[in-house]
Symmetry: C2
Subunit: 240 residues, 2 copies
């Protein structure tokens, strides 16, 4: 907000962008007493049902908090693999989910971004406040939780139009100058999030960590910018 | 509508219920010159993206016809597998999709259901009129296309609340007596369809062809009735 330039807001997605959802793998192996391959399959299925559930609930016009959705999704994945579980086991797995490891480039990138003028950072996630706060409680990331816009506030999940509109309203609350939607930059590793933001008039930086290239064809919308790491986000934002 | 009893409407889903989406497999193998395993993986991924896209579009408040969604989904699946394609190839694959095989129990079940009094049959599908008409043009099923309620009419996909409400309005158009939502029975092999119908106040018969049992946990909604085949649907409907 200082200086003469226009302010840009960076709205960071968490799961799959700052936090590596695959790092639950090791925890799952010991909690369920299974091997790495089985654990990897269950992780992928868990993530898939987690997202599927959010989109189906959006379609049905129903909202339930992300911790409920996430625990139901792991139950579905375990049942599909014929793995028995009880409530205690699910609580343990959910606790492990709140200790996901961050990607290596997350903390350094945040440190650099905080130094830049005219840049504000907001956490923008499907997760509940409790989940996000616990997941980001490592020293290098905990200050991020000062400013968050979460699905609970919009009572709907990404990529619902309402959650992106809600984000834009949120960043304008108490701002010294209005921030237009096209000065709000989603930073996300998730294509469904990127197309959702773009369709709502926001900008979007897609973090293509596996360098797979943009092959999503759900809609005509594409990222404003593609990067391979959060470090590259810093370089790009400096050029704004 | 004859006799003294209340009328019940059976709203049949097509893809995954009457038509076996896995039967595209053989066609894909020859069109793409790939082996059975690769073809199976691509089929599953194609179906996954097809559904993912419909749910994401629902969330974004965007509607595009199912043939567009389906062809984009195969492009995504092929790109992910590093398989090159051009427009001509996609047209050929889509033509094969319109020749999906019906499940063996579909034609005999329809024949029996048509004999029952107080039972009306409606086709209820995400597919376009062109897709559905082509897919059902085998002798034993073609009369089904006389009465259809398709996503195009609601401009939204399953499990959007609006498509189930639209179905109930549709079955009441020109009916000699009003048909309440709880006398409309979805028949579907797709859990997302079943929960969508139930959340909108309809009844739902889930066709669990693989006898996996109900493990879907997206919501608190469950099927009214679970069967393993369309033959069992006939038995159940006789008891209504």
């Amino acid at each position: 907000m200082s200086g003469g330039g226009y302010m840009h807001v960076l709205a960071f997605d968490i799961y799959g962008t700052i936090l590596d959802t695959n790092t639950i793998n090791v925890g799952l192996q010991s909690l369920l007493d299974i091997g790495e391959q089985k654990s990897t399959e269950i992780c992928l299925l868990w993530r898939r049902y987690q997202l599927e559930y959010t989109w189906r609930l959006n379609s049905m016009g129903i909202y339930e908090p992300f911790d409920v959705v996430t625990s139901r999704a792991i139950e579905h994945a375990l049942a599909e693999h014929g793995i028995k579980f009880d409530e205690r086991k699910i609580v343990q797995i959910m606790a492990a989910y709140n200790r996901l490891q961050e990607f290596d480039d997350a903390a350094p990138a945040m440190q650099e971004l905080r130094k830049l003028p005219n840049i504000e950072i907001v956490i923008f996630s499907n997760g509940t406040e409790d989940m996000v706060t616990k997941a980001l409680q490592v020293d290098s990331l905990s200050t991020l939780t000062k400013r968050m816009f979460l699905a609970d506030a919009a009572q709907t999940y990404k990529p619902s139009r309402a959650i992106y509109d809600g984000l834009v309203r949120h960043v304008n609350e108490g701002a010294s100058q209005p921030v237009a939607a096209d000065h709000v930059w989603l930073v996300s590793g998730n294509p469904f999030d990127v197309t959702g933001a773009r369709s709502a008039g926001l900008q979007a930086i897609w973090v293509d960590r596996s360098s797979s290239g943009w092959i999503d064809r759900a809609s005509r919308f594409e990222p404003t910018k593609v990067v391979q790491s959060l470090g590259e986000v810093v370089e790009f934002v400096r050029s704004l």
